[in-house]
């Protein structure tokens, strides 16, 4: 039985080991489409774990093995830096909040003022998308009355996609075949910045650097722009 246990442990541990030319990338959910594209196009092999930024930093703090961390805002990256989890971060794109609505916008929602009597879902103020939403609402003195403050942006999009909510505050880049994205007036003054850094305990720092170069290089920046992110160029 002991032998079986030992074998199981070795086998399980083996699953965590990736070949040395592949970077393990922990990235914010909003990057789930574009990062694999960049990886392919720039031939920078990577395996991805997409989740809410805060959750990813948690996992790193808990000792999860990764080479690269990419977050959806500065605050979350700062927390990782302060905890000594990552090296010096680089900003690689910007994003802005938008209103997500059912595909084709059947309720003709074009601004926060069209949401009276509608079911709005936002992110909780504790997560990046919620921080930005609170700032924009305060900026424009429009009180938000959401029916739910979701724990991550993917849940906001999910509630709109399933038709449970009429509108959600998510990112410009969150459009899918189920939801349309409407520009949110005032969002341009509260851009969120996306940051990328090498994980301090990265087993393959060279591979990590290669992936980051791909993201910050021409190929990455072009693909990010195509997906709707803002870039320096």
């Amino acid at each position: 039985m002991l032998a079986a246990l030992a074998l199981a442990t070795v086998t399980l541990a083996g699953c965590g080991i990736t070949t040395t030319n592949t970077a393990t990338v922990f990235a914010a959910s909003s990057l789930a489409t574009v990062f694999p594209q960049i990886s392919d196009a720039a031939q920078a092999p990577a395996t991805f774990s997409f989740d809410g930024s805060s959750g990813l930093v948690d996992q790193l703090a808990g000792g999860a093995p990764a080479d690269v961390l990419a977050t959806a805002d500065r605050t979350t990256m700062d927390r990782a830096v302060k905890a000594g989890l990552v090296g010096t971060p680089r900003q690689f794109a910007t994003n802005r909040l938008a209103i997500v609505v059912a595909r084709g916008n059947p309720l003709s929602i074009t601004d926060l003022t069209d949401l009276t009597g509608r079911k709005l879902v936002v992110c909780a103020p504790e997560v990046p998308c919620g921080r930005a939403a609170a700032q924009i609402a305060a900026d424009r003195s429009i009180p938000l009355r959401p029916v739910s403050q979701e724990l991550k942006v993917a849940d906001v999009v999910g509630k709109v996609a399933s038709g449970e909510a009429d509108a959600g505050l998510a990112y410009t880049t969150d459009g899918t075949d189920r939801v349309s994205v409407v520009p949110l007036p005032g969002a341009e003054r509260h851009l969120t910045t996306l940051w990328i850094a090498v994980v301090t305990d990265s087993p393959h720092p060279a591979v990590a650097d290669a992936f980051i170069s791909a993201v910050t290089g021409t190929t990455g920046q072009t693909l990010l722009r195509q997906r709707g992110f803002g870039t320096g160029g």
């Binding site: 504790e126 739910s148 399933s162």
Partner: protein, 263 residues
């Protein structure tokens, strides 16, 4: 009563026992050690904590009441019936126990959501369940009812039907037999099963998040609050986790007392 003869378990069994105890015990101990004991009272007295605690307690009391009202008669029907359909029904009632909670949430959404089979006509009538406290209770009932039915049916089967038969022989109708014989005799088992269901409802996370949303005071129960706060206010998150751990421990002890499993 003479001590029953027992052969000692093999040493390897004790090794497995130690490993199992460490696997379950150490993480729980870790939580207890990490908990911010000094600040515990002030943390738990805070508005956010009180709101989540109150909502969890209230919804779990309601859902457990529903589970008792539905689960006790259902368990009796299963325990006293024979035939292929009983096995089918038993499988149906145990499914939510093994279903991933997020799947339960999607199933509830597909049924009671705005565009769901039941939800759409309700929505036309002006009743919407999504994002309400009712949705939280429905999620809790969905995941905890199987615990009531599973444990109570087994208890009713083993307790036998002798007293029920006698009562019926004396002229009591089935409803009277149920209320005056079956339920009082099974009261400890019902209590134990209800405690188990309450504990399961208290920990409900996935289905609530998927189906009910997360609004403070309305749908954000303790587990959702803990998940949200785990990094922005990890002390409060740990304090609330400790509360859940203590309540769960109390409920498990109560369960084994009531079902008579004294060691």
């Amino acid at each position: 009563m003479a001590e029953p003869l027992v052969t000692p378990p093999p040493r390897t069994a004790w090794l497995a026992f130690s490993l199992a105890a460490a696997l379950i015990g150490l993480p729980l101990l870790g939580l207890v050690v990490r908990a911010p004991w000094a600040r515990l009272p002030s943390l738990l007295a805070g508005h956010e904590a009180q709101q989540a605690l109150g909502l969890s307690l209230g919804t779990c009391l309601v859902s457990t009441a529903v589970v008792v009202v539905l689960g006790v008669p259902t368990s009796l029907v299963l325990a006293r019936s024979t035939g292929r359909w009983v096995q089918v029904a038993r499988t149906l009632f145990s499914l939510p126990m093994v279903l991933p909670p997020v799947v339960a949430g999607l199933a509830l959404l597909a049924t009671f959501g705005r565009w769901g089979v039941v939800g759409r006509p309700l929505s036309h009538a002006g009743i919407e369940i999504g994002f309400t406290t009712t949705a939280v209770v429905i999620s809790q009932v969905f995941v905890s009812l199987p615990f009531m039915i599973g444990s109570l049916e087994a208890a009713l089967r083993t307790s036998g039907t002798h007293h029920e038969v006698v009562a019926a022989g004396l002229g009591a109708n089935p409803l009277r037999v149920f209320l005056t014989v079956t339920v009082p005799m099974a009261a400890p088992s019902i209590g134990a099963a209800a405690a188990l269901a309450f504990a399961r409802a208290l920990g409900e996370f996935g289905a609530t998040l998927t189906f009910a949303g997360s609004l403070p005071g309305v749908t954000r129960t303790l587990p959702l609050e803990i998940y949200l706060l785990r990094e922005s206010d990890s002390d409060l998150s740990l304090a609330l986790s400790l509360v859940l751990l203590v309540v769960a421990a109390v409920l498990v002890v109560a369960t084994s007392r009531w079902s008579g499993n004294r060691g």
